[in-house]
Symmetry: C2
Subunit: 340 residues, 2 copies
């Protein structure tokens, strides 16, 4: 049995997404147990007339009297929301009652609370956010980090990101020696800032990392590396601008198919094709970013995730818990950082 | 008459793109004069059996014995390629023989040579690269800088980028007070690195800039600002990753339409719609990045640009020359930087 705590109040949709997603994945995964953390009356109401009764102790409620707001500052959430659904879900991981937790709430508050409650792994300067993105190669994804937990990452931090991500990918994707690329603005040695150049040296000199060199922005989606490492400011802009242009293209397609009667008819016929492509680039499919470098597993769902998206985030948490990712990262870190 | 020098040897395709593009735009623009800079025999051969003879002195050849290679280091190009087509084209701007120049060659070498020959404008720390991108709003574009000329931009440099871009946009797009957003990883005041936070203060305090606040990666393509300012490392990654994901989506669409006989038939019917969308996001349509902050106009065409793309780059150079952009930037800079 794997037990996962869900911050049921977090995200744009709260219980109306988290509860149906929980019921859906519990049906599919008989060895999964979920703890819904949040306002108990609200949770009970949401569970009325559902299959919840038949699940017995595989679905447990845990009351939390507070809720972290989306716009709240991390410091304020830490100080004043000690009984928030987010904090209680993380506490359950700390206490060993849950093996992982999932939240769609305020990213900054989630990271600050996770660091405060769970603590960072030994020898790791800062945790990072890592997520999966599609590539042009069918079925092949790339994991990119950091996506916004850190700004001004040092070369040592970039190196640590590579070590942690290698451990994660080898654990959850069963890849023996995942390839690591370093995001830069050119492939030549002279390109980039000092942090990136020094990180390249650290990575090249460490045989424990399967480092393949610099990767440019457009190559992320070519699937040239299993892992792409970058500073959190750069990674966050990369991820969000990619989302922005993808949404723009989908909008252009919709508008073009609605332009006239002929294009509308073609559009109706093309619907299955469009659906397939939309599914391939659907953020829901890749929902569930991991906070790595902590002494416990915390998965961040997109704030606006729908039910299938949230199900994917829970699945990501299950996988990390089953494969014992934090311990494997800790092992890898003590092995590889010792060599530096 | 506007005279523009073209580095005819630069880019992946050299004369086979530059010469036809030159002939095409000369036909459309009777007040344009072009100087083709490059290896004279090669140019003459490329001009055989074309309409070039009828153009008289509106098409002039200028021999240059060398050529900067795509992989060459900027320092080496500066030192050893004093008679390259790139260098000579920039010299023509310096000497006042041409009002602007266009090159599809090595970006680093072009920037280094342009800075060395033309010099940076007074009070400007570093030139920047600015280009136009499409937005979700039909017909509305956004200009983003810096796209890779600088790394580790200071708050003062980010401020200067905003001043220069405002002058450019008001000159070429006829916008009185273009809106300026600062790229960040969140819209709240506490987000971002020190450079960005300080730049936000400089921009807020200067009434000469129409500053609208922080803009996140996905909002670039929403058309929320006329100008988005960022460090060159961040901007370069943003631009290239956007290109990468756009290319991936186009590939997914192609594959989906080729999946079976039915989808192939639908695909054939959908061709005009797809063409329209492809054109909307086509990099050729937005080809021609400006190097701003120099005492002269240099336009960088994408290395792989096709003929219509290169025509757009020449058009961008014409516009900048006709509107006297470098002088207008210099005026704006002396006006606004004095206030700081």
């Amino acid at each position: 049995m794997t037990t996962i705590a869900l911050d049921a109040m977090g995200g744009d949709h709260g219980v109306s997404v988290v509860v149906p997603a929980a019921l859906q994945i519990l049906e599919a995964q008989p060895s999964l147990r979920l703890i819904l953390v949040g306002d108990e009356p609200t949770l009970k109401q949401q569970l009325q007339n559902t299959s919840a009764d038949k699940l017995g102790d595989r679905l447990v409620l845990r009351h939390a009297s507070q809720q972290v707001e989306m716009g709240e500052s991390p410091a304020q959430a830490l100080r004043t929301k000690k009984d928030s659904s987010m904090r209680v879900a993380i506490n359950l991981v700390k206490e060993g009652i849950a093996e992982a937790c999932v939240s769609a709430g305020n990213t900054g508050a989630l990271m600050a609370t996770a660091r405060f409650v769970l603590k960072t792994l030994p020898s790791i300067s800062r945790p990072a956010i890592i997520a999966q993105l599609p590539t042009i190669k069918p079925g092949i994804t790339v994991r990119v980090l950091d996506l916004g937990a850190n700004v001004d990452s040092t070369s040592q931090q970039l190196f640590e990101f590579a070590v942690m991500a290698s451990a994660l990918v080898s654990a959850v994707d069963n890849k023996e020696r995942p390839t690591v690329g370093l995001l830069n603005i050119g492939e030549e040695d002279i390109k980039g800032n000092e942090q990136v150049k020094k990180a390249a040296q650290l990575l090249s000199n460490n045989p424990g990392i399967n480092y393949i060199g610099y990767v440019e922005g457009d190559s992320i989606y070519k699937g040239v590396a299993d892992i792409v490492v970058c500073d959190g400011f750069v990674g966050n802009v990369m991820l969000k601008s990619s989302e922005g242009i993808a949404r723009m293209i989908v909008q252009y397609l919709k508008d073009a198919f609605h332009a006239n009667l002929f294009s509308k008819i073609v559009g109706a016929c093309a619907l299955p094709v469009m659906k397939k492509v939309k599914q391939q680039i659907d953020p829901a499919r890749y929902n569930g970013a991991s906070f790595i470098g902590l002494r416990g597993t915390v998965i961040k769902s997109h704030g606006g995730a729908d039910i299938p998206g949230y199900v994917n985030a829970i699945r990501e948490a299950m996988l990390a818990a089953e494969r014992d990712v934090p311990r494997r990262i800790a092992d890898q870190v003590s092995l590889l950082l010792a060599r530096n």
